[in-house]
Structures are given as C-alpha cells and as structure tokens.
Amino acid sequence: MRAMFARIVLLSLAASIAIAGDAPLPQPPADAVAFTPRYPLWTDGMSKRRWLHVPKGASIDKSDPDAWEFPRGTRAWKEFSRDGVPVETRTIERLADGSWRYLTYAWNASGTAATLAPEDGIPERGIPSRADCLACHEGAPAPILGYSAVQLTTSLAPALGYLHGNCGHCHNDAALPALDLTLQQRSTDPKASAARTYASLVGRASRFRPHGAADAQRLVAGHPEHSVLVSRMKSRDPLTRMPPLGVSVVDAEGVALISRWIEQQIQQPQEEAP
C-alpha cells in the first residue's frame, strides 16, 4: 500500500515536471482525424494543419448543433508552419474534471523538435500566453473553434464565413453582451444569425471612435472606407487592430473580401442577407 502510494506520488511529480519543463510535443495518435475548417482564422499567412482525437468509445454530443460537447480526453492539435517548416503547435485538451487545458509548443529553428512554451508565451516569436488562449477559445460555445457544425458543414456567404471564423468567437451575445455586436453564425438557422449580424453592424454607432471623429459607424452601407469594421481590420496599431491578438500582419485578402461585401452587397441598412 505504501509502495503504491509512493508510486502515485512519483508519477504525479513526473507529470508536473513534464508540464512545467521542456516537455516534448505529444504527437497526434494514428487514429486522430485531420480536419480543415471552412472559414479559417487568419494567422499572418502561416499554413496550418489540424487534428482531433476523441478517446475510443466516446463520442461528441451534438444535440446542440452550435455547441458541441466534447468528451473528457478529447484533444486537438494545430500546427503552424512557415515556408514548410513548423514553428508552433497549439493543443487543447479536455481534462477529466471537464475543464480545458491549453498548451503551446515552440519548434526549433530547423523544425525537427518542439518543446512546451512558458505560460507567458514567447512574445518575440508571436507565441501566445495561456491567458491569450482563453481570450479567444473561451468566448465561443465550444473551445475547439474549427471543429463545429458551422465550420465543417454549413455554407455561408464568404464575408459572413470570414467574420465567423475570425471574429465570432469573441463577438457573440454570450461572450460580450455589452457590445451588442454578433458576428457568430449558427448552423441551425444561418439566415437568422446573418440577419442578427446585419442588424448589429449596418448603420450602428461604433463604441470605438478614431481620434478626432465625433461619430463613427461599425458598417456604413456601400462605404468600406467609412466603416470601423474595415479600418480596424486594416490597422497596424496593436491598440486598434482587430483581431486584437494573434495577428500582426494585415490580411489583405480578408480586407478586400469585407470591403467588396460592404461596397457591393450592402447598399441599404438592414438589407436582407444576399
């Protein structure tokens, strides 16, 4: 009994050291599922690979199509590469108590091995802190953002898909109700969620106002150049740009997509979804 207790203590200690120290990246198991979301997050032009693993015998509860419940032991990986060399891998794991653990692993320069990044991240390499992980992932109905009904099966207008994938995890009624700005789409009633997005954007006063501006609107129909939505996407100022973290390079294609949408498809306030 005493030996067993000692063994448990030693194993726990070893696990703690592995988490706190230079723990190597646990690779996705052979039966992990590779997936690609339809509306990916812009991450400074890096290419990404993603995997999901659900424990054998367990399954995802999809009874709420827009808030999938992942079983304990679920783990997801996202590997970021630049010029074919992996630079960072992020993992999300659902623990036995139901909580989620977010870890980030930094690859060496040659992309041959990755070790656990410190809790505060590595700012000079753009690797986020654990608190930054929560800022995005805990604002959505389920923290594995790319593996959902909307991201895997729902056809949205490209601009709405872009806003969902890049903004909707924070800009939704549950995470930031004070803003009344909903860019999250729903698979159950995409027409209703699109209408909600239009209503919260078009012609609505913006809380954020550029310096010197007495007034500003989130989206001015037909005028991307006057829309705060676009100006904040285009901003290089870290205090102004959107998204506020995880991005340092403007997504020129994304800006063009949203600008065309505002210019060509939103001519009247609260117009019906195209």
Partner: protein, 184 residues
Amino acid sequence: MTLSRKATVILIFTVALLSTALAHAQDKVTRGQYLVTTSGCHDCHTPWVMGPKGPHPDMTRALSGHPADFALPPAPQASGPWIVSASATNTAWSGPWGVSFTANLTPDPETGLGKWTLKNFKDTIRTGRHMGRGREILPPMPIPMYKNFNDADLEAIFAYLQSVPPLRNRVPEPLPPSSTSAAK
C-alpha cells in the same frame, strides 16, 4: 393554525429573507466602496482639479475617467530617465506604451460600464485585456497587482461601481507610441 396566521408567518419569513438579501447586497456595495477608495481608483479615474491646497480629485466627476472635453496638446518628449508624463487631471498618461486615458467606470450605458457584466469586469482585471478579450489595458493601471484581487473583492468592487451615479463621458481611445517617442 388558521389561514390568516399561516399567511402572517409566510409574510414575516419572506420579509426576513428579503431583508437579509438586501443587507447582504448592501454589505457588498459598502465593501466595494471601501476597496475602491483605498485601492487608489480615484487617483486616476476621477479627474483632478487645482485647489488652494494643490490638486485634488473632483468628486462631482467621480470615477468618470479622462474628460472627453479636455483637449490636450501632444505629450512632451521623454528625456533620459524621465519616461512618463501625466496630464493635470491625472487622467492621461504618456509613456513608452503611447498615451493612455483612464476609463469611465460609472454605470453610464453608452460611455461607462453600464452594460458590462460582472464576468466582463473580472476578465478585464484578471487578464489585463479590455473585457478579457480585446486590446491590452495600458499603464499606469496596476493590473499586475489588481489581478490578485479575489473573486469576492472583484464582485464587491463591481457592485459598488454599478451603484454610483452614471456620468456620460466618452473617453478617447489610447494613442500609439509616436515614431519619435522614447518607445522606439
């Protein structure tokens, strides 16, 4: 027990419960007021004015942040070890991070915390990000210390802030470090 006696007992019980709940809520607000006034919130979030004995917080604008109508010229250039300067109101601060303007903490729905949830407030203090998700909260806000407030303290502070008179004051957005500032 007659029906009227039963009704009386239920009434007394309900009143007692309500009184306890009210007292508890009032305790929380009082505790929040104590924390706000002893933790230096007024130092920066209430504009200062000059009086016969020097600058002091203008409590008619308590906790309403940097006054929107207070026009400021560009901040002086940092020089040597002097890297920070503050406006006369103590509500605008220039430093290596740019220029920060203290927030309106009153419950005004459009320009203050009126629409914020307790979670928004706690997330802000704990993460150092606006509403826990947006841009970073800038110096001199002492996030590294305040994030150590426990849940009960943050709940009390938020309860108090929601109880003060709402003051409409749209605080400007922060300014980035200028290309000639010491932040380069």
